[in-house]
Point group: C2
Chain length 197, copies 2
């Protein structure tokens, strides 16, 4: 039996707790009991906020996806040469990943066992396709190297960006790198590579 | 009760089965019972080959680590300018990852709960440090761009290479990309970037 706290959660703070538990135990391995223990409130208090764990997952990955798709609506993603838009989207994707670290981490780990997970994977693929389209446009404008397959390039680009979740910790947790420094490095390596020009 | 087959396993074929189970269920989530069911032989037959699941893990990640450290002993990693050795090691790391896909996948997923897991993580870090040393040497020879932190560059480089395990499937499984094509793309993007020179 858990000593239940008074329930002072808002939907956002409860979501933050749930996301940490989902990342640690996996979504499948998380029960309402685990969430109740981590939050320090009863299961019925959690049900007062949400219908169940799938709703928490949907909100959490929804927050990551809103952040990512929001990038594509920003002015920097909409005007100018495709290679510049691609560079903008690359930088902003790295920034959103760091700003919404637990939510994007969860999104990247989702595997498709429930409807919500399948929806999240579908939306993630859709985002990847939007970026592949940008690569195609930049290649058509003659600004990208012609000797790398564009779908392969998209995968490697996202591989580099998404790997940030494995080691990045916010600077205010002590000793981390600044977000700008990481985003700059991603853009430099992705577009111009390690080699001195 | 499982219908036990006659035990025709060699250490190598048993290892291949175990690695698939470790990847699917996680090492912590795998019991000898799971291994027995997947292999279709009794637990005592498995104990005839190995002392337990930790020995299987040690052999599996050992195979991945031998592949990776072996690269550093190859002539291409030992002579010439550091940037050329770095390029060689980058290409070969991608190749070994694809050639030893399940073993490297397992190595990358290991988290440190047992002595074997901690040893594997330590060896993996050691490999990363050897590559960082190569980046430092290449930077000292003036061949790498000076505006990216070298530890950060190493992380992003491995992020790109290691992400291959998420989507690469051998060509003979149908429809996949050739290993050469993937390794070439990794080297081009890592060293010269997406942008047309």
């Amino acid at each position: 039996m858990t000593m239940a706290q008074r329930d002072t959660y808002t939907p956002e703070t409860l979501l933050a707790v749930a996301v940490e538990v989902f990342i640690e135990r996996g979504y499948d391995g998380t029960s309402m009991e685990h969430l109740s223990r981590a939050a320090g409130i009863s299961k019925s208090s959690i049900y007062h906020h949400v219908r169940g764990k799938e709703e928490l997952l949907r909100r959490a990955v929804g927050r990551a996806l809103d952040g990512l798709f929001g990038i594509l609506e920003e002015p920097g993603a909409e005007g100018g040469r495709a290679v510049e838009r691609l560079e903008y989207v690359t930088r902003r994707t790295a920034e959103v990943l760091m700003a919404e670290l637990p939510y994007v981490t969860l999104l990247l780990r989702v595997r498709g066992n429930t409807q919500t997970e399948r929806w999240a994977m579908e939306r993630r693929r859709e985002f990847d396709h939007r970026v592949t389209d940008l690569l195609k446009a930049a290649a058509a404008e003659g600004d990208l190297r012609a000797d790398v397959d564009l779908r392969l390039a998209t995968r490697l680009l996202f591989g580099m960006i998404n790997s940030i979740v494995e080691w990045y910790r916010p600077k205010d947790d002590g000793g981390g790198l600044e977000r700008d420094q990481v985003a700059d490095a991603v853009v430099r390596l992705a577009f111009d590579g390690l080699r001195r020009a």
